[in-house]
Point group: C2
Chain length 554, copies 2
């Protein structure tokens, strides 16, 4: 028989373990290819440790090519699937020509995506903890807050920079808040102007208690442990909205913070959403063999799939496989066996597995564990946690690197290097009524367009006592000054109601506007009409404007 | 006497060692503050090792706060200096309000910047090797080329992806080409579809030989060594222009390549350029005590400064301190002593130092060294090179981490994890006459404005045999289709002459155009005028267009 081509989409626990098993069980019979957006497998349970510098960014991940040496690994983005033609269309790297891949059997292991759309401002202002980049960005962001807090002379700025909010207190939320706490605690001795009691950390959970999947007494222990580290644990309260200055809670409180981490809001992968498959709880329905009903030769597993554990599942999550690495690994093995059984005309087996338990790290060498029904907490649980993940980490090289990192980290000063990424060129910024967008004396950094809400500009010229006011609504804009190179803001812009702005960074806006003669002319006309021409008071670039405080030379 | 405030601008070798010495010599007498854009010191000699994954990104740098424990470290960007008022204006982190810092003594240690402006296209298309981000980006880029080359079915694309060009064969260029070679050599076993002889590497040097500061026989040895690794060493030839597809050489040759690394073009730091100081060879002239003539209480050192070694220096580089770490470190010590002498009314000493020699790594456990006049090459020089840098690396933690990394790296598989950064929203792209900007069937990824040159769009509709042509010149644009969400290009755009485009990524362009009703209307009118309306053939978004090949669902 000719070799069959099995295409696995997604390189998380489900996809990787399915590909590994398939390659082993089907050697000589199948060609296995795995398509993933990144060239590495992310060991998600260790992401909070990346956020805390406890391990290096590159050590929480394993190159897929080294993990799956006999599988063809393709770093590509899946654009579409044609189930009838049995093809998948992908984009490879920076190449813009789509490539079509044929398959005999298709495995969907696409995981889930973060969906924060239900909370206004959250997707634009919260950091997430799904991928390596997220963990890296959180770490960089936290160190940046400490750097600025250490040198600022403005008390309210300092207070906001030293306030950290984590939304959602499942595994990921609890471990993230604990690890960020640990990073800050170890870093503070190097920030001479920050007192430990100036740092405030908040963990916000909508449910009545944290760690809902754990036994109540372990969750209780974890709460006490987090509180003893100075983390404010707020339960039974949700977030109503988020801006760049903080979160608004459902109980009416507002927490000022420059750092919001959202570990909530699991939604379907964008591709899963458009495949026209039968979804339930945003997951692809499968039969007990992990086949996708109504589609020939299509299988699904991992977080993306809803796999029944019994024959007539009801509306009870317990009737289905849970979305954890533990399950995904076993699903991968069984799915591989079922594909091989199908190809060889043998009988498939339904997926069955019972969780061995759960573990959550709490920082400060403490953890909680519920293993085979035994409840553990404290240092012993923490050692178990480390040992468990080390043994679970695929590949010797990764185990060794993480182990060495853990050892080094326990005897070395914390790594507070801030490897910054360039900020995005365009971003949406939400404001609450009364918030200031900018004030006189601030550096001009970009251009604003109003998406919704009302924003009031006020300019007072101290030299001539002239006064200028204008309210901007949806579709209007301010900050054209960027184009005429004046350096500091002379006006104040405030939100008259809750609103949303699109910000475009100076460099990109200027490049665009100057390359495009039509836009350039528009802004010239606009300045003439609105401010009475470039030579007039208040006009951007006019000579009457408040003298910039930025002395370039003596 | 009241404590004097010494402000050091710049955290490279010069700034860090000056601050360290000042803190030691002046304890109780001076307050030392160091301002740097990043919160870490970059050990530049190890950047090529970061590019090759031989050490982790974070291990070629040391947090300034850990290096300078009794110095106030301020992560900030210097915006201006007022020598008369003795103040420096800085921006701190993401805070947009400028902050004024007073000083009694000011030390300029701002280093140099890369200036590639003399070679058209080079600054827009070449990677550089100045900072940690550069090294990280080079590594990521090289791995990305291997990933795509492994899965592409287009031979000319594969050839371009597997061709690497390093421009400039000083230390940095030689070590970079050797380390990238090493990374690729070690990574290739994991890329099953790339044969070793498909990889081509080029080192291009305008001078008659590589490593111009080394003795000729060592340079000869290095050339042989690099050639034996399959690196094409081209000397006596310069680069005329660069595009995203390669470089044009002064001898008429053209090298197709997706990777150009420029280690040439040292220019003054932008701030140094606008300070109104006396510059020579783009460096700040100082006296033999490192004082800046004509400015009271201002000192300069390191690569930014031109420090005479004799009393009446001529137009001979040998009469001045060289721009190396070795010199900068000694300059820092002497400058600190001179500042303290001034404050205490004692006599200053002129700077004097003779180089101990030079070392350059060649990859494959080989190096060349010229130490105290002794010439060494091969494995022994390489061990010396490693030992020397390890001993030179400031701080025990950094030494230990780099040492452990080197050990791990020699026994472990290479780290081929590709930690990608988001591509910039706007970028300039240069084209040679005849180059294609895009072709039918490519994914639409953004919008183009013509800066200069002439670009011809051709659309052929296979269904109706209709034909459309238009030539775009400066200020004109194409790619509006982005706004109407069609997925694949239907037209071909070619450069009719050498030209430059500004590219704006789909996401950012769409956000901007849709937020701005005025632009939206402009594009509607434009499409009507140019293509005869959205319902017509060739009009972006029209239903007659070539059928997209991207099947979303069955």
């Amino acid at each position: 028989m000719a070799k069959k081509k099995v295409l696995v989409l997604g390189g998380g626990f489900g996809g990787v373990f399915a590909a590994k098993s398939l390659e082993k069980l089907g050697r000589g019979e199948v060609d296995v290819e795995l398509v993933n957006n990144n060239n590495y497998f992310v060991f998600q349970p260790l992401l909070p440790e990346v956020a805390s510098s406890s391990i290096n960014s590159a050590d929480a991940v394993v190159p897929l090519r080294q993990l799956l040496s006999n599988v063809q690994v393709r770093q590509a983005q899946v654009m579409g699937i044609d189930f009838a033609k049995k093809t998948v269309v992908v984009m490879q790297g920076a190449r813009l020509t789509p490539v079509e891949l044929k398959y005999d059997e298709l495995v969907l292991a696409l995981g889930t995506a973060v969906d924060l759309s239900r909370i206004p401002g959250m997707s634009d202002h919260a950091l997430t903890m799904k991928d390596l980049t997220d963990a890296h960005m959180l770490r960089t962001h936290v160190i940046g807050c400490l750097e600025t807090a250490d040198v600022t002379a403005e008390p309210e700025v300092k207070q906001q920079l030293l306030s950290f909010v984590v939304v959602g207190a499942g595994f990921s939320g609890v471990e993230t808040v604990a690890e960020v706490r640990e990073l800050i605690r170890r870093a503070l001795p190097y920030y001479h102007n920050i007192a430990p009691d100036e740092v405030r950390m908040h963990l916000i959970e909508y449910a009545k208690r944290i760690l809902p999947t754990f036994p109540a007494d372990l969750a209780e222990y974890a709460t006490t442990q987090l509180r003893s580290q100075g983390i404010e644990v707020l339960t039974g309260v949700g977030t109503k909205s988020a801006t760049s200055t903080g979160v608004d809670l459902t109980d009416g409180r507002k927490i000022n913070s420059s750092t919001i981490v959202a570990t909530i809001g699991n939604g379907p992968h964008p591709l899963v959403q458009m495949l026209g498959l039968d979804l339930h709880w945003a997951r692809i329905k499968t039969d007990r063999f992990m086949r996708v009903p109504g589609r020939e030769h299509v299988w699904a597993l991992g977080d993306a799939a809803l796999i029944p554990l019994i024959d007539n599942p009801q509306e009870d999550p317990a009737d289905y496989a849970t979305q954890t690495a533990q399950f995904a690994v076993r699903e991968g093995d069984q799915l591989a066996a079922n594909i091989m059984a199908t190809l060889n005309g043998k009988e498939m087996k339904p997926f069955a597995y019972t969780s061995r338990g759960s573990l959550a790290s709490l920082g400060m060498s403490k953890a909680v564990a519920d293993v085979y029904g035994f409840k553990l907490s404290g240092m012993f649980a923490w050692l178990l946690w480390r040992g468990f993940y080390l043994s679970f980490l695929p590949g010797f090289a990764a185990k060794f690197r993480v182990g060495v990192n853990w050892l080094l980290n326990s005897v070395m000063p914390p790594n507070i290097v801030q490897l910054r990424m360039p900020p995005p060129a365009t971003r949406y910024i939400h404001f609450w009524k009364g918030d200031k967008v900018f004030e006189p004396g601030m550096l001009i950094d970009g251009f604003y367009t109003v998406i919704n809400g009302a924003f009031k500009l006020t300019i007072d010229n101290p030299e001539t006592s002239e006064h200028f006011e204008k309210v901007f609504g949806a579709g209007e804009h301010f900050g054209e000054r960027v184009l005429v190179k004046s350096e500091l803001r002379t006006g104040l812009v405030e939100a008259l109601e809750d609103g949303l702005l699109l910000f475009i960074a100076q460099k990109d806006f200027t490049r665009f506007a100057t390359a495009f003669p039509f836009l350039d002319q528009y802004f010239k006309d606009y300045i003439e009409k609105t401010f009475g021409g470039p030579g007039k008071a208040f006009a951007p670039g006019s000579t009457n404007q408040q003298k910039p405080k930025l002395a370039k030379t003596s």
